[in-house]
Symmetry: C2
Subunit: 356 residues, 2 copies
């Protein structure tokens, strides 16, 4: 059977001041009236019954996310005692699925990315699941639309086949975030795709990679697995979790995994990595602005204006991001949105923790 696992443990500062320590990106209504997590669940619905949608997150975040998706069984929220990056999260999900279904095929997804073409997304998942049936590890690669330096890339190897109209390539390697010149070269070559963090694999195949590449983590995961559904489950999980190596799935597993394939997709994907990316994906008004909440714009162009409560009056502006929350106003040049992280770091350094 096919299962979806949504990774929803992350936190982020680049959408500050809306995103906060206790309210990361996946909990925010950035696109329309649903949170990013709700969008992540919604777009799975036609392909997955709620019983087959799982969420890996922290206990605190689960409190926030469970009410957002009441259709999911409470037990489908897999709780990490502490965030240890994506490889442990994937391993914990894999043993949880295997405990129920030794034949489980697992789709690993993110909770904080935007996908415009949800039907195309599901078609790609269905194709990837078909490929993964024989033990292949499948990654969805995003066809780059600009020379991004903020993403890892996957180098496309030889073409293998077509499934459901989508080409399948052997992976010729995972590549770290490139510099600008390299990113330009990647884009021109047509042979590189963005690593979206969306993977499909048989759960037992992932565990085999753990066994080969991360044996200590593998052993700890097996001990956690042995205790699942026993009275000692929580205790064993808490005790063994620190023994699962903190590392990303890319570094910890994918870079050295066997039989990795890539399906390049064009599904209107965005990681919404910063405020400016909302200007790329949300509908704009005649002046190129994206406006949310109460606002009065006079001669404003290509601005993101977002009010959570107060009136924002914007006069004679262009290429600005203005975000208003209950306790903070952010005004940032559109081409400086990466520096929001610096602002957050400065607040932390100044001990102004209530703003984090």
């Amino acid at each position: 059977m096919l299962y979806a696992v949504i990774m929803a443990g992350g936190s982020g500062t680049r959408l500050w001041p809306l995103s906060r320590k206790g309210r990361p990106k996946q909990a925010l209504k950035l696109v329309g009236e649903r949170t990013m997590f709700q969008h992540a669940v919604d777009r799975l619905a036609p392909l997955f019954s709620p019983e087959r949608i799982f969420v890996v997150t922290s206990p605190a975040m689960a409190e926030i996310l469970r009410p957002q998706a009441p259709e999911l069984p409470a037990a489908n929220f897999i709780l990490e005692p502490a965030g240890r990056d994506s490889a442990p999260a994937a391993g914990l999900a894999a043993i949880t699925l295997l405990h129920r279904d030794p034949e489980a095929v697992m789709v690993m997804l993110t909770a904080d990315h935007y996908i415009q073409d949800t039907a195309g997304f599901r078609a790609a998942l269905a194709a990837a699941a078909e490929v993964a049936g024989d033990g292949t590890i499948v990654t969805l690669g995003i066809r780059p639309t600009f020379p991004a330096t903020g993403f890892g890339y996957i180098h496309l190897g030889e073409a293998q086949t077509m499934i459901g109209g989508l080409p399948v390539y052997r992976s010729a390697g995972f590549v770290e975030k490139p510099d600008a010149r390299t990113a330009e070269r990647f884009l021109e070559s047509g042979r590189y795709v963005w690593n979206s963090g969306m993977f499909v694999w048989r759960a037992d195949r992932l565990m085999a990679e753990f066994a080969g590449q991360q044996p200590a983590s593998h052993a700890a995961l097996l001990r956690i697995a042995a205790a699942l559904d026993t009275p000692a489950a929580a205790e064993v999980l808490a005790a063994e979790w620190p023994n699962v190596r903190k590392i990303s799935i890319d570094y910890g597993i994918m870079e050295h995994a066997d039989r990795v394939s890539v399906i390049p997709v064009e599904i209107g994907w965005s990681d919404i990595g910063n405020w400016a990316s909302l200007l790329d994906i949300l509908p704009r008004d005649a002046d190129g602005n994206v406006v949310t909440g109460d606002a009065l714009l006079l001669d404003a162009h290509n601005c993101l204006v977002r009010s959570e409560g107060r009136l924002i009056a914007a006069i004679g502006l262009q290429d600005l991001v203005i975000v208003e929350t209950a306790d903070v106003v952010l005004v940032c040049a559109r081409d400086r949105v990466q520096d929001v992280r610096d602002a957050v770091n400065r607040l932390a350094a100044a001990g102004k923790t209530h703003y984090l």
Copy 2:
């Protein structure tokens, strides 16, 4: 005796969202921790005892201003039943002073202007009072520092004398707000000064001008004067006030008055007509910013950033005005601050009166 009369009835929208219908510019702390009205009173103190400082304003505004200057006798707040521009206000002040002191020399001042050189200001008042003793109407003219189109001008006539180191000129005429080219010409000529709205005259001389130029208003003022300190005072004032013609002191009296002199002064005067003018008069940080309240600036230059309560984070900005109040955030290009008035008008047209 010499008396100061501060005109404090006005309202303004150009410092919105800080200035509001019920909280005009004179009630705001724009410079330091004192309101503009308090500054207007403070800078008179070395020259005028509190008993000789009067305020003309509305009953509602008096409620706000009286606690700001508790040293002033409550009766020194002269209450207009309704705002009817500056000529009626001057007339009402004149009859009030004459009722106490037939020899009163009256200094008419504004409550919402900034004066940096307060000692120079008082020296100019003292000189003007000396000139006014013989019945001359004296205006303080501001030496222009740029070709302003937002002020009226006074044309300097022949030099008459020097008083206290200050030259006194005959007025060669009041000039309406000029266009940009005319303003350039005025500046270059050195023969024009800004009309600051600060005048010094014997109160009986002002009434004589009323008698000659505004006889109906003069008659009404005399009827109001006759009832002062009687039980019918309020009733007569209310009944006669509409008979005092609504007109500015410039149009109604000064343009056609006899024996008008001008003392040009350089006292660091600013009308703070808009948010950008605060960038001209307030001390700036190393990046040219004027910051009030809680703010975090990263690479911001020549910005006015004012928080009334919440944190303002400003990143990668220049020449912007950012003003945060309890219910509004204004973000405005520095060279577009005149359009704040348009924003207020649009809110009014949209029925959003709570923002006005």
